[in-house]
């Protein structure tokens, strides 16, 4: 019997004030996979991510995360148990301004585990070390650059070792070396721990470096226009928008 997919999206549709952002989005994400949601600006990539984690209401369809449907969670405890098993890195980092980076990473540990304070501090430090911010643990978000905030956001998302991590534009705004380092980190974590990644991005190099499979959304089509291995899509797709995207051509 095939393993239950980590994410199962069935005919998802999102609309704002009657305007459809996308419809009929159907895909599955398998365990340990790095799954990329790609597409041009304004096609609804981040909206799809938010719809998957229940922040944007679905106009149609159902989304199952780790075998459970967040929108149909029976009670708050079920919902919290599911949310504990996913991590999200927001596009801007979304760090809490009144807390240091270490305290930001400690927050989910404090909320969801019984780890004693020294353990939380050591673990938060290690998570920050993992993303190259080991020496910035005591700094406030206002004192760091945008790229550092993004990496701190990843450290916080990874705090609880969730089996499913969502990353919204992780490489955007970073220098190529840091961005490549981040790609390497994502691949390492996926390989070592079996963590499943859903990455929203339009950074072509990142997509090709880390993506096992991807779907592509399109603004004109208001939905998915391609699904598969990004390297194969680059070589074999006949869809003009997909070809233009991978070859960096004007549409």
């Amino acid at each position: 019997m095939a393993e239950e997919p980590v994410i199962r999206a069935e005919g998802l549709a999102v609309a704002f004030n009657g305007n459809t952002v996308f419809r009929d989005v159907t895909f599955e994400v398998r365990r340990g996979e790095i799954f990329v949601i790609l597409g041009g600006s304004g096609c609804g990539k981040s909206t799809l991510l938010k719809a998957l984690i229940g922040l944007v209401p679905l106009a149609a369809g159902r989304a199952f995360l780790l075998g459970e449907e967040l929108a149909a969670a029976r009670d708050d405890a079920t919902r919290r148990a599911l949310l504990r098993r996913i991590g999200v890195m927001w596009q801007s980092g979304a760090l809490f301004g009144s807390m240091t980076l270490a305290e930001n990473v400690e927050l989910p540990l404090e909320e969801h585990t019984a780890l004693p304070r020294p353990a939380r501090e050591a673990l938060a430090r290690a998570k920050l070390g993992l993303v190259g911010l080991g020496d910035a643990a005591a700094r406030l978000p206002a004192e760091i650059s945008g790229g550092m905030a993004k990496r701190a956001g990843i450290a916080r998302a990874m705090a609880l070792d969730p089996p499913l991590l969502f990353l919204d534009e992780p490489g955007a705004g970073l220098d190529p070396i840091t961005s490549a380092g981040l790609d390497r980190l994502i691949v390492d974590i996926a390989r070592d721990t079996g963590t499943t990644f859903v990455v929203v991005t339009h950074e072509l190099q990142s997509i090709l470096a880390i993506g096992d499979r991807c779907i592509m959304l399109d603004k004109q089509a208001r939905g998915m226009i391609a699904e598969g291995d990004p390297r194969r899509l680059r070589e074999e797709s006949t869809h003009p928008t997909v070809r233009a995207f991978f070859r960096r051509e004007a549409a």
Partner: protein, 371 residues
């Protein structure tokens, strides 16, 4: 790692071997198990000397478990680990090495240093305030010579936000203050059979002092904070820098319309506060058996136009100062969302303190001038 509960009963075992002490970890060492085993692990590692970490019985290891083992036995050699366990341990070892434990700097308290630092801070703040006042004054003079500098649409927008939308709150507060003052003053005056003088007391208090002062408090709480938050957000988002780089006079565009709107609208708010307060007082006097004609007669006899104009002039000055403090707090905001909150607080506190201080100065001034 899939957050598997601590079902397999992870445990630690310490034993002595020829090469030294060996710490063995067994089972699923996840966060729940780590939370339980952390004190035991640290006790085992106390004093150092753990030469080997025996991981052959470890079925799974997550980052928290790895941090615990590496904290308890940082120098120990791992043995018998499966490939995934070894990978997690190696990764967390690298991560910890890249994140040295922070050394909390010891900063002994020196009173002289603290006083000096505070004095320098106050002087810097004062210099910045003088610079703001000077820049605003120069821009206002330039705007008089070139009225195009002042954006009328912005002035109208702020007149609406600062004034029209504050009318209901001002009317409600004024009415209630009138009611309260009338009731409270009628009690002692009744003892002397002087209840008829309640309109004099309430009327003079409102028109000369409380009307402008309370309208100022409404403006500081409602508008001063809004100015600071709006301009603070613009500063944090680098919109103010963008204006300056585009060659747009930020003071003319952002500060002058707000100052003008607040200065124009404050006398109106104070007047509304006075009128609604007098209405509230008249209502209470009616319940005490004094018709409105009696109240009107008392007010006409004891209140002068100078009282009213003096109060409205004070109100205009309060409006100017509250808006100035709000704008300055916003434009000098630091970085991050916290800075916006700090700016709003500084605007409200600064605004209220400033109008009370100014009211004291006006009281002395009006007394000396015989107004």
């Amino acid at each position: 790692m899939d957050g598997r509960p601590d079902q397999a009963g992870a445990r630690l075992a310490l034993r002595e071997e020829e090469g030294g002490r060996v710490l063995a970890a067994l089972g699923w060492l996840d966060m729940a198990a780590t939370a339980r085993l952390w004190p035991e692990a640290l006790r085992a590692g106390r004093g150092g000397g753990i030469a080997v970490l025996d991981l052959s019985g470890l079925e799974s290891l997550d980052s928290a478990g790895a941090v615990m083992l590496l904290t308890a036995a940082p120098e120990a050699e791992p043995r018998g680990a499966s490939e995934p366990v070894a990978a997690v341990l190696a990764r967390m070892r690298r991560a910890l090495a890249a994140a040295p434990a922070p050394v909390k700097p010891r900063t002994p308290f020196h009173p002289i240093t603290a006083i000096g630092r505070a004095t320098v801070g106050v002087l810097r703040d004062a210099r910045s305030a003088v610079a703001f006042i000077g820049e605003t004054a120069v821009t206002a003079l330039r705007a008089m010579a070139r009225p195009r500098l002042l954006r009328l649409s912005e002035v109208l927008r702020h007149l609406d936000e600062v004034g029209t939308r504050a009318f209901p709150l001002t009317l409600l507060l004024g009415f209630l203050i009138g009611v309260i003052l009338a009731y409270q003053s009628s009690i002692p005056l009744r003892r002397f059979g002087a209840e008829v003088f309640v309109p004099n007391l309430v009327g003079i208090s409102l028109v000369r002092e409380l009307g402008p002062l309370l309208a100022g408090v409404v403006l500081a709480g409602r508008t001063g904070s809004a100015f600071a938050a709006e301009l603070g957000t613009m500063t944090v988002n680098e919109e103010v820098d963008a204006l300056r780089i585009m060659g747009v006079d930020a003071t003319a565009m952002l500060v002058l319309p707000r100052l003008l709107a607040a200065t124009l609208v404050m006398p109106v708010l104070a007047l509304l506060m006075n009128l609604s307060g007098i209405a509230g007082m008249t209502l209470i006097m009616a319940t005490l058996g004094y018709p409105s004609a009696a109240v009107e007669s008392q007010l006409q006899q004891w209140l002068t136009l100078t009282d009213l104009m003096g109060g409205l002039f004070k109100a205009a000055c309060f409006g100017l100062v509250i808006a100035g403090i709000g704008c300055r707090a916003g434009l000098s905001a630091g970085r991050g969302p916290r800075a916006v909150g700090d700016a709003a607080t500084a605007a409200v506190v600064g605004g209220i303190v400033a109008i009370v201080v100014m009211d004291g100065i006006f009281a002395v001034l009006f007394f000396r001038l015989g107004i």
